[in-house]
């Protein structure tokens, strides 16, 4: 009897020991990711910060590393993102609304749903091949800002659709029923009541999608983005009539990640410092957007209690 008790105690001690060991191992493996993140950011900042200056932000690329800058790259990124946002946000939110509020349970809905899930898993470079074949050569849009923006729009579409659906699903049915009871039509209920409640969460998804697009390199290389551009596209606002110009849509372009890739793949170490500096700017953009999204989600979760 005594011996049995001893045995049981031994087993308990051993089990607890294993559990403690696992807790440490678990914490460590979580930390691997976080430590890598910190190392990466620190490494980039140490290499890149000395190179970062006003001159770097306002110069075109150059053969001399100390004169080169990222003006064309960040202007390109901003312009491409504008096209992406204009194309992806309405279509993405509309698809999300259809799938969540309108779609009946039939094979067509199932097909669309499977499609959205699958598209989210398609490698990004495949979107580049699609754009190369379809936009550049079939539709003759050329290797332009418009092509790049549309390509990235296709890429972020699944993200926007999925978050829109989640946001709409979180709005309780009582809101819809109250609107119907007041005589609202289906669309009025959605537009006046459901959407305003969910717009914050949708915005989070849009920001995350766009931050993914900002860092995306491969599909834009595939459609033939240039790496050496020493001029800016036409400004969208002009002094003379009709004041707005869309010729920037047809301009050739480069973007931040492509500029960085170009510098990384050069053998001279000075260019690699430039790459690090471009990386610092890029990472500030994407991490800033991600942090904003995480903060928004946190605030929404705290504010809204159904």
């Amino acid at each position: 009897m005594q011996q049995d008790l001893q045995q049981v105690k031994k087993i308990i001690i051993r089990n607890k020991l294993w559990q403690a060991i696992f807790a440490v191992v678990g914490l460590l493996s979580v930390l691997v990711g976080i430590i890598t993140l910190i190392t990466l950011v620190l490494d980039l900042f140490i290499d890149g910060l000395p190179r970062l200056s006003w001159q770097f932000l306002t110069s075109f690329p150059s053969r001399k590393p100390e004169e080169a800058g990222i003006l064309a790259a960040w202007v390109g990124t901003v312009l491409v993102m504008i096209v992406t946002a204009i194309a992806a946000i309405p279509v993405g939110i509309a698809s999300g609304i259809y799938l969540e509020e309108y779609a009946g349970k039939n094979w067509l809905t199932g097909l669309i749903e499977i499609n959205v899930t699958n598209l989210a898993g398609v490698p990004s470079i495949i979107y580049g091949l699609l754009a190369l074949g379809l936009f550049v050569y079939q539709l003759n849009l050329g290797e332009s800002v418009l092509t790049a923006g549309l390509t990235l729009a296709l890429l972020v579409l699944p993200i926007v659709i999925v978050t829109t659906r989640e946001a709409l699903r979180a709005v309780p049915n009582s809101i819809r029923e109250a609107a119907y009871a007041m005589g609202a039509s289906k669309w009025q209920a959605i537009w006046d009541h459901v959407l305003p409640y969910s717009i914050g969460s949708i915005l989070t998804g849009v920001i995350i999608g766009l931050s993914r697009a900002v860092g995306e390199t491969a599909p834009l290389i595939t459609i033939g983005a240039l790496t050496f551009i020493a001029f800016l596209p036409d400004p969208p606002i002009k002094a003379e009539f009709p004041y707005i110009s869309f010729s920037w849509l047809q301009a050739p372009f480069t973007v931040m990640p492509i500029q960085m890739f170009n510098w990384v793949s050069r053998p001279e170490p000075d260019f690699q410092f430039n790459a690090a500096a471009a990386g610092v700017v890029l990472i500030c953009m994407t991490l800033g957007m991600n942090a904003l999204a995480i903060y928004l989600r946190y605030r929404i979760r705290k504010q809204i209690k159904w």
Partner: protein, 307 residues
């Protein structure tokens, strides 16, 4: 008694017009939803269309068995095997990092971590997924490779090992967050039943929660594999652009994706055979991810637990 009148800001639509408007909106929304189907059709259409012209010139047998890939040389060879080996080796290295670390992290976050720690760590891991891949490539080439070279003397500057390791760290969040969701959705009474039998947290996690959540965890692994197979910039920067048939991760080798990048960087005439090679490579890539996904779908169906 004062007559109260409701002030209408806009004139209400007639019931008929209202119905028409509702229907029009629904059709518009439906068309938007169809855009995703159109995208899929367009992807498959373009890839197959361009590949067909490619496979008219190069036989499928040749494509699958030739051990050299050198479409840009005078002595052109079109064997996908070197690119396939590069893709598989980098993926294997990445998974051997991401699967154990991601799974342990998920078990820890779901069953062990205190609430506050989890609330802090999850967003941090999400940030990891928000870093552009080109930055990871820079990190792999200029930080991880020199670091590995301090104890692996003969490691070349471009190698699949460092690219794979960095890629593995990149996909940890994908693996861990999806598996954590799967484990947290295991009903509480299973945990309580296990505790009531005297099991520790660890025993419960490994012998009750993990098996119950295995279908969701499989889905997480498949997601990780798809990411790794399709990852482009890290391998293009850190593993080199030279197609080599090798299974040794210490070597330099191009993946399918890296090949597409290296061709796109040059200026290939539209419609040439070299131009079509990237579509054939892309089709191979899509088929690979498709096979993994179907495999994962059946695997997770096979092991799905019903509560």
């Amino acid at each position: 008694m004062v007559e109260r009148q409701i002030q209408l800001t806009t004139k209400p639509l007639s019931p008929k017009l209202r119905k028409v408007r509702e229907k029009a909106i629904e059709i518009l929304l439906f068309l938007a939803a169809c855009s995703s189907v159109a995208t899929t059709i367009a992807i498959i259409g373009i890839l197959v269309y361009e590949s067909i012209t490619f496979f008219r010139e190069v036989s499928l047998v040749n494509f699958l068995t030739d051990t050299q890939w050198s479409p840009l040389f005078d002595d052109a060879h079109y064997g996908i095997l070197p690119l396939l080996s590069g893709t598989l080796v980098t993926t294997a290295v990445a998974l051997s990092v991401a699967v154990p670390l991601g799974t342990i992290a998920a078990i820890y976050l779901s069953e062990f971590a205190p609430f506050r720690l989890r609330e802090f760590i999850k967003p941090c891991l999400e940030l990891l997924a928000g870093i552009p891949t080109v930055v990871y490539g820079y990190f792999a080439l200029l930080f991880v490779t020199p670091l590995l070279q301090t104890f692996l003397w003969d490691l070349p500057g471009f190698n699949m090992l460092s690219a794979g390791i960095v890629m593995g760290v990149m996909i940890i969040p994908y693996v861990s967050s999806v598996s954590e969701d799967a484990m947290r959705s295991v009903p509480l009474h299973l945990r309580e039943g296990s505790y009531a039998m005297g099991a520790t947290r660890l025993q419960t996690a490994l012998k009750v929660i993990f098996p119950s959540a295995i279908s969701g965890i499989t889905a997480a692994y498949i997601l990780g594999i798809s990411r790794a197979v399709g990852e482009t910039m890290i391998v293009a920067i850190a593993a080199g652009l030279q197609p080599t048939l090798t299974w040794n991760p210490m070597n330099e080798a191009a993946t399918i994706t890296a090949y597409i990048v290296s061709v796109s960087l040059g200026d290939l005439p539209h419609g040439s055979l070299e131009y079509q090679t990237i579509f054939a490579a892309g089709l191979t890539l899509v088929l690979m991810t498709l096979v993994f996904n179907i495999f994962g779908y059946f695997l997770s169906r096979r092991y799905r637990e019903k509560y």
